[in-house]
Symmetry: C2
Subunit: 152 residues, 2 copies
DNA sequence: ATGGTTTAGTTTATATATGAAATATCTGAC
DNA sequence: GTCAGATATTTCATATATAAACTAAACCAT
């Protein structure tokens, strides 16, 4: 059936579009903030959700634990985040934005918004809404399949 | 204006959806073919376009020249691709699939198609088509902006 | 022809990412 | 109480990715 071919085409469009945006945002973060998209995403998760355990960061960013450990080390060294111990469970560490981290993130977020807005300016507002809605549906499908086994 | 916020939301959906698929495909390539998504993409470009210079591979995959050099080394060592010199221009090297590479890629492509098809099975055919069309529009907008400067 | 520029690709240093194994801590059945 | 598993995080080895500096070859204006 041609159905599967269409789905492959869809997934390729998705990857390409996503990668083009990622590259541009990464270039922005490097040029203007001496940072990277990975660090921006990390800070973004903390800005959105407040204090998080490292495991939660890993889940939100869809990256491995080891990766989170590395990023945490760098962001801490830069003074953008800080760690606090859990009162009851000594395995758990929570990270959060420092004052400096909040301030830096605000500037980053503003530049990021301007960047993606410029990149997708040719899309009408209606198309953006449709696209967001359809991507939500795709995400839902994905999440459901991923809990079970998708690889046959 | 809330327009920029909507665009940020859209770009986040895009990245998340794309990352979920990439992770699953990467896991598939590791589990079944002792490979990775990066190598699959490389082989995929050669399968689609035939013999390519390393620079062309870099453009198709949206990755740097250095990255292509590294991947080429591994794929050559595995006997999946081979290099030939250009007759007229000694700077240029073309890579192409070997017989083994073609055969391995066929199996990979089949598994890949089954994987993404399963992941996105909950979407109707109509939704997939709409999504592909909208992503095409997004890609066009991106390409146009990227030739100019998107970072204000 | 020759020297300056562009083009193709490699190398180097480093950041990002993974899976697997290890460590440390907690939890629950007994 | 204790000990077998579960959970949170780190460490290790390695793959993937970048930017910047570099090499080699081609092009091109003089």
């Amino acid at each position: 059936m041609a159905d599967a071919r269409d789905t492959v085409r869809l997934s390729l469009r998705l990857l390409t579009t996503s990668r083009l945006i990622e590259r541009e945002v990464d270039a922005l973060m490097r040029a203007r903030f001496d940072s990277t998209i990975a660090r921006f995403d990390f800070l973004s998760a903390l800005d959105r959700h407040g204090a998080l355990t490292l495991g939660e960061v890993s889940q939100y960013l869809l990256v491995s634990n080891g990766n989170v450990t590395q990023l945490r080390t760098r962001l801490s060294a830069d003074g953008l985040i800080e760690t606090e111990a859990d009162e009851n469970d000594r395995r758990i560490q929570r990270v959060r934005l420092t004052k400096k981290g909040e301030s830096v993130f605000k500037h980053m977020a503003k530049a990021h918004a301007a960047c993606v807005d410029a990149l997708l300016r040719d899309l009408t507002q209606a198309d953006k809404q449709k696209l967001t809605r359809l991507l939500d549906a795709a995400k839902t499908s994905l999440r459901r399949k991923l809990t079970k086994g998708a690889t046959p």
